[in-house]
């Protein structure tokens, strides 16, 4: 037959059209559709992994120092996104999710930028490893978004570059032996050496806060830690060099 579609065309004429009534009846996207990005800043630990894996560079962050910590803002530019979902995959905290909202239409480009921010409190202490229990598996190094941790299994060494560390805490959550922690450094203060002190009392005199008390008679040296401002004048003025700065207890 020369025109194979005549029958079909005519039967279509009397059947219901297969058109979806789209704007009138909203359509649910199919499962696993990757649409508009939703970002939960509360879950985010600011590891920056998402930013790193984003191939078109659609994710940008802003860090602002505010009272009580850092205000961290994440921008997801949907006009730049390829909706590959890699950021979602890499986000351990499940802070990023590609929803099934496909209606990403805007007159203003700003409407197509998903943003979220949270204030992250300052972490006291630096990353430290209890090398005694550490098995040097290297998972911490592998998961570190900034590459701040170096683990060498052969020499059994674990080092961290504190400059690079953004204190996201990812390594801590990944550590199988739980040997990593943010360790607050011991409080600093003036340490009295004892041996060799002649109890001259220069230190007491020099102390601007009058925190040091020296009794030559009883050969006693004491310091009021609450008053000490760790200015170090006592240390520098000690003729016998028995005072030093260091961690106390």
């Amino acid at each position: 037959m020369m025109f194979p579609f005549i029958r079909e065309a005519l039967s279509n004429l009397f059947s219901k059209p297969s058109t979806e009534a789209f704007p009138a009846a909203p359509v649910q996207a199919k499962p696993r559709y990757r649409g508009r990005i939703s970002y939960d800043p509360e879950k985010c630990i600011n590891c920056g992994m998402c930013k790193k894996v984003c191939s078109p560079g659609a994710i940008t962050t802003e860090i602002e120092e505010v009272e009580g910590g850092q205000k961290i803002t994440y921008h997801f530019d949907l006009t730049s996104c390829t909706f590959c979902g890699t950021c979602e995959d890499f986000c351990d905290e499940k802070a990023i999710k590609l929803t099934d909202d496909y209606l990403m239409v805007a007159e203003d480009k700003k409407d197509l930028i998903v943003s979220g921010s949270k204030i992250k409190p300052v972490v006291k202490g630096k990353l430290a490893c209890n090398t005694d229990s550490c098995i040097f598996c290297g998972l911490c190094a592998k998961n570190c978004p900034e590459g701040a941790i170096t683990v060498d299994r052969a020499t059994k060494s674990w080092t961290v570059d504190h400059e690079k560390c953004i204190q996201c805490g990812k390594c801590i959550s990944k550590c199988p032996k739980k040997v990593l922690a943010f360790e607050e450094p011991a409080p600093q203060g003036v340490i009295f050496g004892g041996e060799g002190c002649v109890y001259c009392g220069i230190c007491a005199k020099k102390c601007p806060e009058e925190a040091i008390t020296v009794d030559r008679a009883t050969k006693s040296w004491s310091i009021d830690r609450d008053k000490c401002i760790q200015c170090g004048k006592c240390v520098s003025s000690c003729p016998k060099k028995v005072l030093s700065m260091g961690p106390i207890e």
Partner: protein
């Protein structure tokens, strides 16, 4: 009365001209899908036109390669007012994964004013319809502004 009728018709009969500025064809296929029986944009009067002179809505897809930039600008200049420019997908707005290539001139906003951006890579046909629908409304507004 005629003025109102014309303005109203603007949003009822927008003709589309599609410019591909180096797109991967994903968006182009979705734009064609919009005209298929399932989505049928023609029920709103949308029609693909063959020449910019007939167009009301110019749909741009692709990351605006260096080669296509001049052609795009020239073609857009030939569209009679009122016209609406729609970017289809991420590429024209940002360059998407091609961003930073020596031969990519995105974003397109450097050269033309974009009225509606449809995001997605590629956008779902529903999103394209929604975007074009919005563009048609803008078209009517532009027409009303022209005759004021």
């Amino acid at each position: 009365m005629l003025k109102n009728a014309i303005a109203k018709s603007m949003s009822r009969s927008p003709w589309i001209y599609h410019v591909n500025t180096g797109s991967c064809n994903g968006c182009d296929i979705e734009l064609v899908a919009v005209l298929t029986p399932r989505y049928d944009a023609e029920r709103f009067g949308f029609k693909l036109s063959g020449t910019p002179r007939h167009a009301d809505i110019v749909v741009i897809s692709g990351p605006v390669t260096t080669q296509s930039k001049d052609r795009l600008v020239r073609t857009l200049a030939q569209v009679p007012e009122p016209k609406v420019v729609v970017t289809l997908g991420s590429c024209p707005q940002s360059g998407n994964v091609f961003k930073g290539s020596y031969s990519v001139e995105a974003p397109v906003e450097k050269f033309v004013h974009v009225d509606v951006a449809i995001a997605g890579c590629t956008p779902k046909p529903e999103a394209v319809i929604a975007g074009l629908y919005k563009a048609a409304e803008i078209l009517q507004k532009k027409r009303e502004a022209m005759t004021k």
